[in-house]
């Protein structure tokens, strides 16, 4: 280990302990930090300071109303350009409502919907879709439409973001998912996502939501053509908006997958990149409460160890995921609630079933672990407080 890198981590650790905010340069340095385990340890400390061992998950389902999309993002294996193209699919209201009505899990608390940017569906169609869902299962939270979709509606139907959101909320919208952020920096975004909301527009849609009291999540699609600097820049743009609005609940790093899209030739990010990115997100995004290890994107084993690299959320049971699976994800299509609970327990954490806005549905007991395992955290906490006292 060179003196420089040791200095970097030491300096950053000191900053964190002093409660100082990390800078752009710190973020870039962390991406080059070879001591990957110590990086994980720092992120884990921040995670444990915020949440202890509590680890969140929810019982949710996925829905994609349409995969027909005007845009043609180069990483996207999901969208079909035209209605009628092979594989193109748009749901009917009845089919959509039926799917929710007949969802077998009585514990379902969330419907998560992300769509293509459909050229012809009228705005009222979406409103009616939400209203119908509220009629069949009023208790299920509707987390629908990315910032990109909100912006698309605003442009297409000549409304402001606020107007779009206000009408959708009236129809039943509860919150926005974090998708569509990709990489916000224009140098990258212009190359991979030319014809949809740009970075500022994505942020503007979320800002509008937050101002209306609609919470949202945010994401970053990493591991394609962007540099580490672009990632840090992206995270800091999110952090700046969060300073302004406090409306983001959770950040979700999304690993790029390379099948069935026009970036096939690019290698996918490996687990070490995923864990590193997640850990750095935890350290930089000091104002966003939760960091999610999205198991569909990173794979179940890596998501589990991610719970010790800064993540405190495993997303949900997710029935019917097709965006990642179109791009070659080998993760299972669904995990049962029991499986999620077991994954969390195996990581030495306490499973907490949450609703979309992080209300606790049920806090489960931790696993019956050998007595020593509990000593680990106490001891680490003691070490940390000693280190603090030493500063």
């Amino acid at each position: 280990m060179t003196a420089r890198t040791a200095g970097t981590l030491d300096a950053i650790e000191a900053k964190l302990q002093a409660g100082e905010r990390l800078s752009y340069d710190d973020g870039c340095a962390l991406f080059l930090e070879p001591d990957f385990l110590r990086l994980g340890m720092l992120a884990n400390q921040v995670r444990e300071d915020k949440h202890g061992d509590r680890t969140f998950f929810n019982v949710n389902m996925r829905f994609e109303a349409t995969n027909v999309c005007e845009a043609s993002c180069s990483f996207c294996a999901f969208a079909k350009l035209k209605e009628g193209a092979a594989g193109a699919h748009t749901t009917t209201h009845e089919a959509a409502w039926k799917e929710l009505a007949e969802h077998p899990d009585p514990r379902l608390t969330e419907l998560h919907m992300v769509n293509g940017l459909h050229p012809t569906l009228p705005f009222e169609w979406y409103e009616e879709l939400l209203r119908g869902w509220k009629r069949v299962r009023p208790g299920v939270h509707l987390k629908c439409f990315t910032g990109v979709e909100i912006h698309f509606f605003a442009q297409k139907f000549g409304m402001t973001h606020e107007a779009v959101l206000t009408r959708l909320r009236a129809a039943g919208l509860g919150s926005l998912p974090g998708g569509g952020a990709e990489i916000l920096h224009p140098d990258v975004r212009q190359r991979i996502a030319t014809d949809k909301a740009n970075g500022d527009e994505y942020l503007a849609a979320h800002r509008a939501a937050h101002k209306l009291g609609i919470p949202s999540n945010c994401t970053m699609l990493y591991g394609h053509i962007e540099t580490f600097e672009h990632r840090v820049d992206h995270l800091l743009r999110l952090r700046d908006l969060q300073d302004e609005t406090q409306g983001f609940q959770c950040f979700i790093p999304l690993a790029f997958h390379n099948e069935n899209n026009s970036l096939r030739k690019l290698p996918e990010p490996t687990a070490v990149d995923s864990l590193r990115t997640l850990a750095i997100s935890r350290l930089l995004l000091d104002n966003i409460p939760h960091i999610k290890a999205y198991w569909v994107s990173m794979g179940v084993p890596t998501a589990q160890i991610a719970l010790r690299f800064g993540a405190d959320d495993l997303d949900g049971t997710i029935i019917h995921e097709s965006i990642y699976h179109s791009a070659g994800s080998r993760a299972p299509m669904a995990l049962s609630r029991d499986e999620l609970v077991r994954l969390i327990r195996e990581a030495g954490r306490i499973p907490v079933e949450r609703d979309t806005i992080y209300g606790v549905v049920e806090e489960l007991p931790r696993a019956a672990v050998p007595e020593g395992a509990l000593k680990v955290r106490d001891r680490m906490a003691r070490k940390r407080s000693l280190a603090l006292a030493g500063n």
């Binding site: 340890m41 990149d273 990581a347 680990v376």
Partner: protein, 652 residues
């Protein structure tokens, strides 16, 4: 009241500590010098309190460690290997000067020998011998040490080859060799202290203040009865009663007094310093404070000690397993890996796993691969199928075939010999084949010895053995998940013999079924112990049980976090095994990669197919390019290797 030491991992894994009627399970050994200690107990002195049995010497420590005994007349080396046992005060088997029954013998002065053959039956004597030899050679390089059966040692010693003899055979060969060093005498000359060979060792907290004095009473009765004991021994085992009595009276010292304790502590200190035994503390039954305590009290210092290559005891490993943070374990294992493999090169092998038959008589609960004899889906690969698979492997740059299968009673030793000869004559490829289970199957089928079977297979072209089928090497676990399989001692015996005839093997551990943390640590210790003896293991590979369709075994302690912790711990415990492989085939490429920071230095093989795992639903594939990309993303260079871990490509 059961007293426990602070910081001690309590033995929550204990099954019935006491046998029917609340009695302690006590195990002794059938040695002449043990007779006085056992005399009172065997004549019924404590029948209401204790259930006394005799066992093979090698069994004593195992029973104690695996909780099949509460108290055993144990050699002292296992005190250090375990680290959490308590000593019953007052009595021991020791000597103060010459002992006659433990000696180094040779045709040349012992310090000039190039090679020393060891009777590995007593680790304590082996360690003592090595300390004495080290002292005599005063800084010169160590001789080569090889474990051999006692009779073979007597037959082989000569020239520059010396030997260590223990017990009856040492007494019988008095005056047979030109040079002899009595190790009791040598120890006395070196330190001025008595030596302690064995003590009554107890699992922590099980011997009450009321029971402890019974052991001393038993000895008192035995000391008084020495003449009768010597006579009885001569009747039962031969030899001269007078000589036996003189040995008991003049050579063996039974008191565990201040001086004996000083001798014991000095031995453990020197052995730890020479990295032959773990650093340990000594505790006595009924005392709160350890009688001897090293500077290794905190988990932090223990991690540093392990990262430096310090030898860990059972107790140490248990403590790390339960009290060290996952990242800390990774950091310590990573530091240790860097010391052992400082060039930062990750290796892998291009080979193919071929399952030549799925017919098996064993029906392990965790196995989704096998079909019973007569089942319509049972197969034995034909030569044509094998040709295709091997040709594909050679074409892909493969250097080895890993051949494993079920225990198919239709396939005899000749079948394997023909097959191996044919493969080796037809293809330029190494044969890594037949796990110990399959070797035992042939031993039984053909009514031959392990050595016969292995020697014939080697002559037919077998290059090395895979370490599969080890599961977890404690019999408690094996009996639960694979009842019909060989015992852990049998598994180890195949490896011992294979190593002795010059084959290298790997060792594996499949955990996450009926095992606890204690079982997993015991498994590692057994591998470490055999490795001390033979040096034949090239690598250790652990993975957790992949519970899925077709298996009947419920999953126990599994998961990615535990996998990485276990792998890191194995890097620390197995201080004498050169390589640790990640098991990306079971864990997926991501965790295989991350595992390179948790102690592993090898990515295993490219694996075209692995039916036992993939039948249970877990299928991951990586080709050479992907393996290399994953390792390089962590900053490593990558090289291909063969089974002996010789590099076949330049690291890049």
């Amino acid at each position: 009241m059961v007293k426990r030491k602070p910081g001690l991992v309590q033995n929550r894994y204990r099954r019935d500590t006491v046998d029917h009627g609340g009695r302690l399970r006590v195990v002794g050994v059938s040695f002449l010098n043990a007779q006085p200690l056992l005399h009172g107990l065997l004549s019924g002195l404590a029948d209401d309190r204790m259930h006394v049995e005799l066992a093979e010497p090698a069994e004593l420590a195992r029973r104690l460690f695996e909780d099949e005994a509460d108290v055993a007349l144990s050699p002292v080396a296992p005190l250090a290997t375990h680290g959490g046992l308590e000593i019953v005060p007052g009595c021991a088997i020791g000597c103060d000067g010459a002992v006659e029954s433990v000696k180094l013998v040779g045709d040349c002065p012992i310090e000039e020998a190039d090679e020393i053959l060891l009777d590995a039956a007593s680790r304590t004597s082996v360690v003592l011998a090595r300390l004495i030899v080290r002292h005599l050679r005063a800084g010169k390089a160590e001789p080569r040490y090889c474990a051999r059966p006692a009779r073979e040692i007597v037959a082989t010693v000569g020239g520059k080859t010396a030997g260590l003899l223990i017990g009856d055979i040492a007494l019988e060969t008095r005056g047979k060799f030109r040079y002899e060093i009595d190790l009791g005498q040598a120890w006395k000359e070196l330190t001025g202290l008595p030596f302690v060979f064995a003590v009554w060792a107890a699992r922590p907290g099980v011997v009450s203040a009321r029971d402890a004095p019974l052991f001393t009473s038993s000895l008192e009765a035995g000391l008084a009865a020495r003449p009768q004991l010597a006579q009885a021994w001569a009747r039962g085992h031969g030899g001269d009663a007078e000589a036996h009595l003189a040995y008991l009276n003049d050579r063996i010292r039974y008191q565990l007094d201040e001086r004996a304790l000083a001798g014991l502590c000095e031995f453990l200190r020197r052995a730890a310093e020479a990295k032959l035994l773990p650093v340990t503390e000594l505790s006595f039954v009924g005392q709160d404070k350890p009688a001897f305590s090293p500077q290794r009290a905190s988990v932090d210092s223990l991690l540093d000690y392990a990262a430096d290559g310090g030898r860990l005891s059972f107790q140490d490993a248990m403590r790390l397993a339960s009290e060290a943070d996952t990242h800390e374990l990774g950091l310590a294992a990573d530091a240790r890996r860097r010391t052992l493999h400082p060039e930062g090169v990750v290796t892998y092998i291009v080979d193919r796993n071929v399952n030549y038959t799925n017919v098996c008589t064993t029906s392990c609960r965790f196995c989704a691969f096998y079909r019973p004899v007569g089942h319509e889906e049972g197969y034995v690969l034909t030569r044509e199928q094998l040709t295709q698979k091997i040709e594909e492997t050679v074409a892909a740059g493969g250097v080895q075939i890993l051949l494993q299968g079920g225990l198919n009673p239709a396939l005899h030793l000749e079948w394997y010999e023909d097959l191996f000869r044919w493969i080796k004559a037809t293809f330029p490829i190494k044969l890594h084949a037949l796990s110990p289970e399959e070797i035992w199957h042939l031993v039984r089928l053909e009514d031959l010895t392990v050595q016969d079977v292995l020697t014939r297979l080697r002559a037919a072209g077998l290059d090395s053995l895979p370490g599969g089928g080890a599961e977890v090497l404690t019999d408690r676990v094996r009996a639960k998940i694979a009842k019909a399989k060989c015992t852990s001692a049998e598994w180890l015996e195949v490896m011992r013999v294979a190593h002795r005839i010059g084959m290298r093997t790997t060792a594996t551990m499949m955990f996450g079924t009926a095992d606890t943390q204690a079982d997993r640590v015991l498994h590692m210790l057994k591998v470490r112990e055999l490795q001390d003896e033979t040096g034949g293991f090239t690598a250790f590979i652990a993975w957790d049980y992949q519970h899925d369709v077709g298996t009947r075994q419920v999953a126990g302690e599994t998961g990615t976090v535990l996998y990485l912790r276990t792998q890191a711990l194995s890097r620390l415990v197995l201080d004498n095994v050169p390589n640790i492989q990640t098991s990306w085939v079971t864990q997926g490429p991501g965790i295989g990669q991350i595992g390179l920071r948790y102690g592993a230095n090898d990515m295993g093989s490219t694996m075209f197919e692995e039916n036992v795992v993939s039948s249970a639903g877990t299928t991951f594939g990586m080709d050479a390019a992907q393996i290399e990309r994953h390792a390089r993303a962590l900053g490593f260079k990558v090289a291909q290797r063969n089974m002996r871990y010789e590099r076949l490509t330049v690291p890049a």
